[in-house]
Every structure is written in C-alpha cells, then in structure tokens.
C-alpha cells in the first residue's frame, strides 16, 4: 500500500505539469477566441492537425522547433475555415466549429497515417540543456515554459494594451465596439486565427513533447474540454493554468492507478475534469 502511494506521488507534479501543457496551449488559444465573442469547437481538430503536422516535420527534419512552428501554422490554417464560416457566412458557431473539427480529425489522420507508431526524441528537458540536475522542475521542456510565459504575456496583452481592450470590447458588445470605431470583423478573425495558432502549438506539444509519437485522435477531446474549461477559468489566461493543471492531475492519477492495477476507478477519474467543468458552469 505504501509502495503504491509512494509510486503515485513521486514525480507526480512534473507529470501533472507535462500532461497539462498541451491543454494549456489550447486553453490560451480558446480564451482569446472566446474573449472576442466566438466559440470555436474546432479547437480539437486544430490540435490534431497541429500534432500530425508537427510530428511529421519534426520526424523528417529532426528539429522539434520546426515541428512546433509548423504545428502552429497548421492549426492556424484550419481555423481560417471557422472564421470564414462564422463571420462571412454567418453560420451557427457550434455547427461551424464541429465541421472544422471533423475536417481536422480526418485531415490529421491522413497526414499522420505514414507515421503511426513512430517515435522521436522531442525536446531536451531543462536539466539536460543547463547541464545541472534540478529537483522537481528539471524535467521541464520548452513547451511548458513557453506556455506559462504565453499565459502571462496574453494576460498583459488583454488587460493593458489597446488591442487587448479592443478585443475585450468586441467580445462584450460587438455593437458598442463598432460604434467606438473598432473593426469588429477584423478583431474576431484575428482572435480565431490566434486561437488556431495556439491550439496548433498545443497539438504539437502533445505529439512532439508529451507523447513523442503520433496516434489518430490522440488529443482525446482535450480541444473540446478546452472550450468548456475556458468558461470555468472565467476567460482569464492566468486562471487557465490551474484549470489545465487540474485536468493534468486527473489524467496522471488515472494513468498511475491503471499502472498500479487499480484500473477500474481510473476511467471514472477520467470524467473528473468534465464533471468539474459542468458543475462550475452551473
């Protein structure tokens, strides 16, 4: 029993952080989008194309940074579909997002079909780069550090800059924003594309860094969870961090319990983040 508990605790925090990072990226992206007044259910698809593209590029060029960048671009490119459907064709946002998700899912499956099951090295952790062994935080990789940095930068952007003010005004009241001279459509399009970019990075972080492989549908609903969790995190990029960590914790716990033989409750634990989202939503 003690061994089980010990096994559970050791390395828990880093594992939780690592597990939370792809979701955190998607959360940040969707926060920006929702702050402009748009809901993008296609985040899941964007993560997946980001993951597949990033993995392919990283595997072929042996450069995880290039992979990250291409994942970001892929996610952004897919999000253009959502922008066009919602803003130009005035489609219902849920319908548009779901169609982008479907396209992204299928596209990622196609793009990743040739590297199913392969694995790559990914990013070198912090301790390896610095040459020093750091307790607890030594396993941090660039995607994690960058995510936290991004969270802080986005918070500053939204609260303290004029474009950030324009973004918030657009989301609160597009008509009032328009009256104030803000180009609402441009702001919303930018927000959607930024969301695509960040969720693409999240997918890239998933395939290159966290799992270091590619599998069809590997984001397993993280993108969809992100849409709900943004609301739970009160649309704040800072609160997105603990929200993502909560999800990461639940996932790590369930994986560890599975490994320790307590397979059964692991699945129920898997529902935890969604239940929490639902409850807080009430």
């Amino acid at each position: 029993m003690i061994e089980i508990l010990y096994g559970l605790l050791i390395g828990f925090v880093p594992a939780m952080i690592r597990s939370a990072t792809p979701l955190l990226w998607a959360l940040l992206g969707e926060t920006i989008t929702q702050r402009a007044g748009i809901i993008n259910l296609g985040t899941e698809g964007q993560m997946l194309v980001g993951a597949a593209t990033a993995f392919g590029v990283a595997a072929n060029t042996n450069n995880p940074w290039l992979g990250l960048a291409s994942g970001a671009l892929a996610g952004s490119a897919l999000s253009i579909g959502h922008a066009v459907l919602c803003l130009r064709y005035r489609a219902n946002q849920f319908a548009s997002g779901l169609s982008v998700w479907m396209i992204g899912f299928g596209l990622s499956a196609y793009l990743g079909s040739s590297f199913v099951g392969q694995s790559i090295d990914g990013f070198a952790p912090l301790s390896a780069v610095l040459g020093v062994s750091i307790p607890l935080l030594g396993d941090l990789t660039p995607t994690i550090v960058l995510a936290w940095l991004a969270s802080a930068l986005i918070a500053v952007f939204m609260d303290r800059t004029r474009p950030g003010l324009a973004l918030r005004a657009t989301g609160e009241s597009p008509s009032a924003a328009r009256t104030a001279g803000i180009p609402v459509t441009f702001v919303q399009t930018s927000a959607i594309l930024a969301g695509g970019l960040l969720s693409g990075i999240g997918g890239a972080a998933l395939s290159i860094d966290y799992a270091q492989t590619w599998a069809e549908g590997m984001s397993q609903g993280r993108g969809l969870v992100a849409v709900g969790l943004v609301i739970v995190a009160r649309w704040s990029p800072l609160w997105a961090v603990p929200a993502a960590l909560l999800f990461g914790a639940a996932e790590v716990m369930s994986l560890r319990m599975q490994a320790a033989g307590a397979t059964v409750s692991a699945h129920l634990l898997h529902t935890l983040p969604y239940v929490v989202s639902l409850v807080v939503f009430m």
Binding site: R162, L165, A169, A176, A180, I182
Partner: protein
C-alpha cells in the same frame, strides 16, 4: 462658432419629422429645444450631427455652407452629440470605456491619452464620487449617462448637443449638469438641450425653441414662462374630428373591474413604482406620457408578462397572478412592439390569429383549424392582404398591428391593455381600431390605453393619468382634466410651480 440650419426637411415614409425648420445657434448660448414626442427635435439634431441625412435644407458653420455626411464629419467640425441610449460596455471599467472612443494612443498604453484624461477630468466635475476603475455595469443609469457625456466632452466640442440629458439623473446630478452646461456656455461654447422637461429649460437655457409636429412654433428668451411654454408645446386641441364614437350610456356597476394597488416592477432599465388605479367595467383609462417613462413596462405587468415586484393586481375580485391561465385569458394585450413581442413571424396569419387558443384545440387538429373565424377577423379588422396562409412577418407594420389587435379583441376580454395602438397607422386604420376598442369598452371591458397622443385620450377616456419616471400621476376624471395640468405632469412640473409662474 455660429451654426445655422436652414429649411431642414426630413420625412420618414409618410411621417414628416421636420417640415422646413430654421434654427440659429450662437456661441456662448444654451438653447433648449422643447417639445413632445415626435415633435421633430431629435431628428433635427440628428441631421445636424450627420447621423441622418435631411431630404433638403442646408447647414452653415460660420456662414460657410457645409455638408454633414456623417457623424465623423460633424465631429471634425467640432459638433458633439450625446445620445439617450448609452453605448458603454458593462464589463469594462469607466476608464476603459472612455479609452474606447479616444483616438489612437501608443500601442502599449491602454488609456494614456489626452482625450481620455480630459474626459476623466470632466467626469470628475460631473460625478465626483465616481471611481474610474469601477466597472461600467456597476454604475447607476444616471452615472452611465454622465459617462456618455464625459466621452463626448473629452473631444472638446464647440457645439454640444444633449438629447434628454436629465432623463435618468438624480436631482443632485442634474444640478451639476446644469451648472456644467452654464460653465460651457460662459466659456464660449454652444449647447443645445433636447428636452421635454420645463425645469431643464428654466435652469440652464438662455433661449428656448419649441417644436411641434415638425415645425418651430415658439421661440423666446423667457425661459421661465411655463404657462406659455406649455401652451406652445401642446397647442390648442387640433380640431378633433367629431366621430361616431359610442355615447357612454350604459350604467356602470359600482364594483371595480380592474384595479392596481402599489404595483412596482423592474425589467432591464425600466422601472415602475407604486402604481395605483381603479377602473370599472366599461371605463377607459388613458395613460399619457413621453415614451420611456415606464409605460411599456406597466403594460407588460398588467398583461401578465412580467411579474411585479410588489403590489396587487385584481381583475373582478380575483387576484391576477402570472400562473393563472384562466384569468389571463380574459386580458387582451397589444404590445408596443407587436412584430417582436406579439406575433410569431414565421408562422401563418391563421396560426397567429389563433395563437392564444391553440392549447385548447383538439389534439389532432390540422393547422387549418378555424379558418372561417379567422377569415372573418381579417375582414372585420381590414387586415391586408386577406391571405390566411402567408407568414405573419411579411405583413406591413400597420397590418401587423391590425392583426394583433384582431387576435386580442376576438376573445371578448374583460380587460384590454393597449400600448401605442395606433402607431404607424394611417388615419382611417387608426380610427377603425379606435372604434373597435371603444366598442369593447362599451360592451363592458375595462380599457387601459397607453398613448403617445394626448388628443384622443382627452376625447374618449374616462380617466386620465400620466406616467412620469416610473410613477403614475393621477388618474383623474377626464372631464375635469386640463391640458395645462396634464402637460405639467408630462414635463415634471409640480402644480405649485405652475401656478407660481403663471
């Protein structure tokens, strides 16, 4: 800056909002533009601000002819306008709201800009207790209006137009506003105050221009002469077309058919407080007042759409409650916005006519149920086109109004609540609806008639009341009501003040 408006004409469809208006605005002067609903004052100023293009007429700034194509052009000329509707964003702070409209500031600073600082300065004068970091939604409606004002003032306009500036302000706020307006005049700016309140005129204006029915009917520097102003505003009763209105012959029962005691309610920004009245069967209560003083909310409460916060409503000895369909089926309600509130736009005219009775239809009824009765209603109320199957949303405004009235009156109601029933109707249609309403009253229904026009009320109502800032002034018997008194109620003047200035 001298501004001159010359022969401004503007019509909206068949309604003449401005019928060739001349107006001169001089620097250092506060002009009050006084008038009732639909007198044309707002439209005139919207033309000046470029919000609306006049059909004909010219503007002159410092004796130079100018074309004002848009608000941006107007702002460039130094004209600023504060509208009644606030466009502030609730979740943002006061400071951020001010920054939204301000011209480009450096990228990293969200609010450091001269215009914003000036706006804040003005706001401090107008509302000293206001914390600029508080969220706009936490402000009272009066404070929000002052925020709008500060936004415009920050750009230092040379001509400032205020549309109903004190409508939402408390007394101390209004006093500060008047003082501020006078300060601006002293500093050499021009100010135009669109208002229907005599006190605004008396306290802040140098000159008053009275408009009625699209024309200037009175202009003077005697801003305190209330009696004269009221007379100009309301005019002699336009030669009322003596119609075949039913003589009030039926004896009324002593018992009240409909009564309200201490009814208060709130919905959105509208409020009503402590409304009381008592109506007998067959009586007509006319409620006058400038739109936006709570009449629409009162109608919704009486119709059972909005739950009152306190007070009692009774219909024939039964207490009216939101949950009693039987009682509510005896109430007819014609809303102020029939297209949005009173009809199912994508369903057919037939279904709309029967809408309130559908729950009582037989289970397996086809949608063509009750065609004969419906067709008859169309005939009786002259709804065109006489097509039961077309979607109700395709009807014109006037016909839609008639449709809604037809539906409501077809159920032999005991209480009828109508809100601006003849708005948008031509004379004949308006007359027709009026006749139908009065016929129902004659047959025993109690009628609460909220109207934007005083004359029909004076002619047909048994009791008259006025809604002002959510409170009901009156009701008094129509026979003993005078125009002066009603005008005073509508413009917020107390009896004593009226008598004192005569």
């Amino acid at each position: 800056m001298r501004v001159r408006l010359e022969q401004i004409r503007k019509t909206f469809g068949s309604v003449v909002a401005n019928a060739g208006v001349d107006l001169e605005l001089r620097p250092g002067e506060v002009v009050a533009l006084l008038g009732e609903n639909a007198a044309g004052k707002s439209t005139l100023m919207k033309c000046l601000y470029g919000y609306v293009r006049p059909d004909s007429g010219a503007f002159y700034v410092d004796d130079q002819r100018v074309e004002i194509a848009s608000p941006r052009v107007a702002r460039g000329l130094g004209i600023g306008m504060v509208f009644q509707e606030t466009s502030s964003i609730g979740a943002l702070s006061v400071r951020e709201n001010l920054a939204l409209g301000a011209p480009r500031a450096p990228f990293w600073s969200r609010t450091r800009s001269r215009v914003v600082e000036q706006s804040l300065e003005q706001l401090r004068t107008l509302a000293p207790e206001l914390d600029p970091r508080s969220a706009a939604r936490d402000l009272s409606s009066g404070e929000r209006q002052l925020l709008e004002l500060a936004k415009v003032l920050g750009r230092e306009p040379r001509l400032l137009i205020l549309d109903e500036p004190t409508s939402l302000l408390t007394r101390p706020e209004a006093e500060r506003l008047w003082a501020h307006v006078r300060t601006m005049a002293t500093a050499g700016h021009s100010v135009v105050m669109i208002t229907h309140k005599l006190e605004d005129v008396a306290q802040a204006a140098d000159r008053v221009v009275v408009m009625r029915a699209g024309q200037v009917v009175h202009e003077s520097r005697e801003v305190c002469d209330r009696a004269a102003l009221l007379q100009a505003m309301l005019g002699e009763s336009a030669a009322a077309v003596r119609t075949e209105s039913q003589p009030k012959s039926s004896p009324r029962t002593a018992a009240a058919r409909s009564c309200a005691r201490g009814v208060s309610a709130a919905a959105g920004t509208a409020r009503i407080e402590d409304v009381c009245f008592e109506l007998r069967a067959g009586e007509v209560l006319g409620i006058a007042g400038v739109t936006g003083n709570g009449q629409e909310l009162l109608a919704r409460v009486l119709a059972g759409v909005v739950r009152p916060r306190s007070g009692q409503l009774r219909l024939d000895d039964t207490e009216l409650s939101l949950d009693d369909p039987q009682v509510r089926s005896a109430i007819a309600y014609v809303p102020d916005q029939p297209r949005q509130q009173g009809c199912a736009q994508d369903l057919s005219v037939l279904v709309n006519l029967a809408a309130l009775q559908v729950p009582q239809w037989p289970v397996l009824s086809r949608r063509r149920f009750g065609r004969d009765q419906a067709a008859e209603l169309l005939e009786r109320f002259d709804v065109r086109p006489r097509d039961l199957d077309r979607p109700a949303g395709t009807l014109s405004g006037g016909n839609l109004q008639k449709l809604v009235v037809a539906r409501e009156l077809s159920r032999s109601p005991r209480l009828i609540v109508v809100c601006f029933p003849t708005l948008g109707l031509d004379v004949r249609a308006a007359r027709h609806i009026l006749d139908e309403l009065l016929a129902q009253a004659h047959a025993g229904a109690a009628l609460v008639w909220i109207s934007e026009e005083l004359d029909p009320l004076l002619e047909h109502a048994d009791q008259i009341a006025v809604m002002y800032r959510g409170r009901l002034r009156g009701p008094i018997a129509a026979a003993s009501a005078t125009r002066a008194q009603i005008g005073a109620w509508m413009t917020g003047v107390s009896e004593a003040a009226l008598g004192a200035s005569a």
